[in-house]
């Protein structure tokens, strides 16, 4: 049994990276391994926006990650700096920046790059999807 963390920088609607990462995560869990943390960085953070409304005949990546995180108790960590630049904020950041509402899906959590470093140190493997 091994411990994995993932770094995802892929834009959810420009290429296949998020989809590949989702399938890889499921394969890791099916093989009986552990997912320590999934860290979203750069354009990858766009998937954490709870206001995303993809067409009904396309996979809803935000909901897919959220469902997996809840069912399997996985940490979905979003880089706060990358997220704020792209309008993905929690309640505290919305208030701090005088915005009308939060926009992050509740299954995701804003945090710093330190969480990526910690995940790398605490995992046997880090696999990047960009």
């Amino acid at each position: 049994m091994a411990t994995f963390s993932l770094l995802i920088t892929a834009n959810p609607y420009s290429n296949q990276g998020q989809y590949s990462a989702l399938k890889f995560t499921k394969a890791v869990l099916e093989a009986g391994h552990i997912i320590k943390r999934i860290f979203f960085y750069a354009d990858g953070v766009l998937v954490a926006n709870r206001l995303n409304c993809p067409p009904a005949d396309e996979l809803n990546l935000t909901k897919s990650w959220a469902k997996l995180a809840i069912e399997k108790d996985i940490e979905l960590t979003v880089c706060v700096t990358a997220a704020l630049k792209r309008g993905i904020v929690n309640q505290a950041e919305a208030e701090r920046n005088a915005l009308t509402s939060e926009s992050i899906d509740p299954a995701f959590e804003l945090s710093g790059l330190g969480q990526l470093t910690e995940a790398m140190l605490a995992s046997d493997r880090l696999v990047t999807f960009g």
């Binding site: 091994a2 994995f4 920088t9 290429n15 296949q16 990276g17 590949s20 399938k23 890889f24 499921k26 394969a27 890791v28 099916e30 093989a31 391994h33 046997d124 493997r125 880090l126 696999v127 990047t128 999807f129 960009g130």
Partner: protein, 88 residues
């Protein structure tokens, strides 16, 4: 230290190969599965491609030196090597 290089962009192949050492492995995923063995000058490196992405693109790989794998094997492969580098 053996490294698994994961390539998803076919136009980055040349720089990826330059960065690879003798015992490293190359896994082609996403758009990079359109590459063929002919594109890869270094014959000594182990070469694999993600079957699901190959099928999705209608590519027909018949080269026996080319191994098609599924996601379960992809996970195993990351553990076979000491680390993985996604060549973006």
């Amino acid at each position: 230290m053996k490294t698994l290089f994961i390539l998803n962009n076919p136009s980055k192949l040349t720089t990826c190969l330059e960065a690879m050492a003798k015992d490293d492995g190359l896994l082609l995923i996403e758009d990079a599965v359109i590459l063929t063995r002919k594109n890869i000058e270094r014959k000594e490196i182990s070469l694999q491609a993600l079957n699901e992405d190959v099928t999705a693109r209608g590519v027909n790989h018949t080269d026996p030196s080319w191994q098609l794998i599924n996601y379960a094997k992809f996970v195993e492969l990351t553990l076979t090597f000491d680390k993985s580098v996604t060549w973006l």
